[in-house]
Amino acid sequence: MRSEMNVKSLAVPGFFADVHALWAVVRREWTIFVRYPSWIIALFIWPVIFPMGYILTARALSGVDGSGLTTFQNTTGLNEYVGYIAVGTMIWMWQNIVLWNVGGSLRNEQMRGTLESNWLSPAWRFSYMLGSSIPQLVSMLMLMVVAALEYVFFFGVKFDGNLWLSLLVILAAIPSVYGLGFAFASVVITMKEANAFVFLVRGIVMIFCGITYPLAILPDWMQTVSQWLPQTYIIHAMRAATLSTEGFSGIASDLKMLVLFGIFWLAIGYLLFSLMERRARQTGAIGQY
């Protein structure tokens, strides 16, 4: 029997090797994303179509002469009801897409049959989650830019706020939005089903976070619930950053809450991922469809 003198591993493990692996996941995800051309439709059409129903309803309720808008202005302090709805629905779409894409990322890999072959490698396993989120975030930022331009040109929305503050809100929102996505991914791979969970979470966000109406119109108990949802703060801060001229003071308290929620949801996401990974090794759930 021959010895294995010729077999010398080419692997050089270490921190940079793991960073390189993470970058490879990002590149892979992006390459596959752009090879399915249907994303172009989502990018241009969905941001206009989705808020349209709410905008037209608001227009109908405000009366032909727009006299009903005074009540809206009194409640929200904003004139721009189209922008108000557009920002709310955009944040809702962001969370919805993250739930589907990031939340479904491991499940999609499992159904493709590639999850096990990734799991066989010595790369840091959380990098599959992180890596698949980054292209998703980039595509979402593109969607936000396109949506903002469409709102300006098609609906005549005036974004009087500050671009840099808007970016700051997005940055502060990322840990909460994606932490929830990571937690979701681990639940979905264990339960083998995403639809019911996505419908539940996005329904809660839609009702409790005020995507098209001010929270003041909700009963007290619903307002209390909404205080526990990070999307409430994201929507409020984003409206303040894009539509009002209040400046940093208008978003400061929301940012603080988003940092706290971000730490919480990232920790929950990582914890559930670790539990799922451990459970999968015991039950073989990774290889089951």
């Binding site: 021959r2 077999v7 080419l10 692997a11 390189h20 493709r112 590639t114």
Partner: protein, 352 residues
């Protein structure tokens, strides 16, 4: 460094049996007593366990090709999955390249190149080259080294002309070559190949077997699972026969065949075969392990049986077969194959 590449001791894997799937409890399996769940009015059903691997012991030498041969559902893939760290053993221990599969899982992964059964282990929306570059990064191969290694493997696997095409356009054989290249990327000392020729056409399967033999020459240790006896016979230095989660025999192919050397295998081809005839032939003194199966859609049956003295048994066999619409088309006395060894050990054919 130890001469043992893979070592498993009393390896056991149990799964909760899923209702309605036909999962069977292994003999001696105990179920916990019924418990009440959190909901006070609902009795929690006792969890029945299905034992997929039941106390496997293995010692695979460095540089060896070790074949794990057994029918579907025997526990081959579960054993491989435990060795490559996808599954944790319920009990027992296993070491790969000296590393414990549970406590040193990442060191085990670094020591292994694994090809799992099925062709969907690579990305169909990436090209062959992109797949290999991606997995090279996951296996921590520095970028410059990876580029050369990917080129080398593409050349070796004869994928050069189509390396930049999407994998979805590849044939099954080409996809399998990409999957094997993926396993070889980091030049790991040990390769686990789970049913590597499954679904390949005969030429592609032959090429792959040649490649496996070359990899052994290059010094790789290879654990190969298969339910093709010829493949195990041709490639393996030693073979473990696995059935219902247990290794029931372990030896060189020749050693295994010697176990039934004193027997001969009588192979008949007949038309108009019926089960009663099988019972009659089994009643002939010295005839054992009779197996029959239809060949294709025509009324042609292959009947194999083991005999201590074929000369004495043949006249009675011919006497039983002739008549009543049954016709003997062909008859041979052949040397025992690994399949015959398997039949001898388990009383059933590999394809069952």
């Amino acid at each position: 460094m130890s001469d043992i590449a893979i070592e498993a001791s009393q390896l056991v894997k149990k799964f909760p049996a899923r209702p309605g799937t036909g999962d069977k409890k292994t003999e001696g399996e105990s179920s916990p007593a019924p418990k009440r769940g959190l909901w006070p009015f609902r009795k929690k059903e006792p969890k029945t366990m299905f034992t997929a691997v039941n106390g496997v012991d293995l010692q695979i030498q460095r540089g060896e090709i070790f074949g794990l041969l057994g029918p579907n559902g025997a526990g081959k893939s579960t054993t491989i999955r435990m060795l490559c760290t996808l599954l944790e053993p319920t009990s027992g221990t296993a070491h790969v390249n000296g590393f414990d599969v549970v406590r040193q899982a990442n060191d085990v992964r670094r020591s292994l190149g694994t090809v799992l059964a099925g062709e969907r282990s690579i990305y169909w929306k990436l090209t062959g080259r992109e797949n290999l570059e991606y997995f090279a990064a996951l296996y921590h191969i520095p970028q410059a080294v990876a580029k050369k290694r990917v080129d080398e493997l593409i050349e070796r696997m004869e994928l050069k002309d189509r390396a930049n095409e999407l994998v979805e356009k590849y044939s099954t054989g080409m996809r399998q070559r990409v999957a094997i290249s993926k396993a070889l990327l980091a030049r790991p000392p040990i390769l686990l190949l789970d049913e590597p020729t499954l679904g390949l056409d005969p030429q592609a399967a032959r090429n792959l077997r040649e490649l496996i033999a070359q990899l052994k020459q290059e010094g790789h240790t290879i654990l190969l699972t298969t339910h093709y006896m010829e493949e195990a016979d041709q490639l393996s230095d030693r073979i473990g026969i696995i059935d219902t989660g247990k290794v029931i025999a372990l030896d060189t192919p020749e050693g295994l065949k010697r176990r039934i050397d004193q027997k001969e295998v009588i192979r008949l081809e007949v038309t108009g075969w019926h089960e009663d005839l099988g019972d009659k032939l089994k009643s002939i003194t010295g005839i054992e392990n009779l197996m029959s199966h239809q060949q294709g859609e025509a009324d042609l049956w292959e009947v194999n049986m083991q005999a201590h003295n074929s000369r004495a048994a043949l006249p009675r066999i011919v006497e039983h077969i002739s008549g009543n619409g049954t016709r003997l088309v062909n008859m041979n006395i052949v040397k025992p194959s690994l399949e015959d060894v398997f039949i001898h050990l388990t009383g059933k054919a590999l394809r069952d």
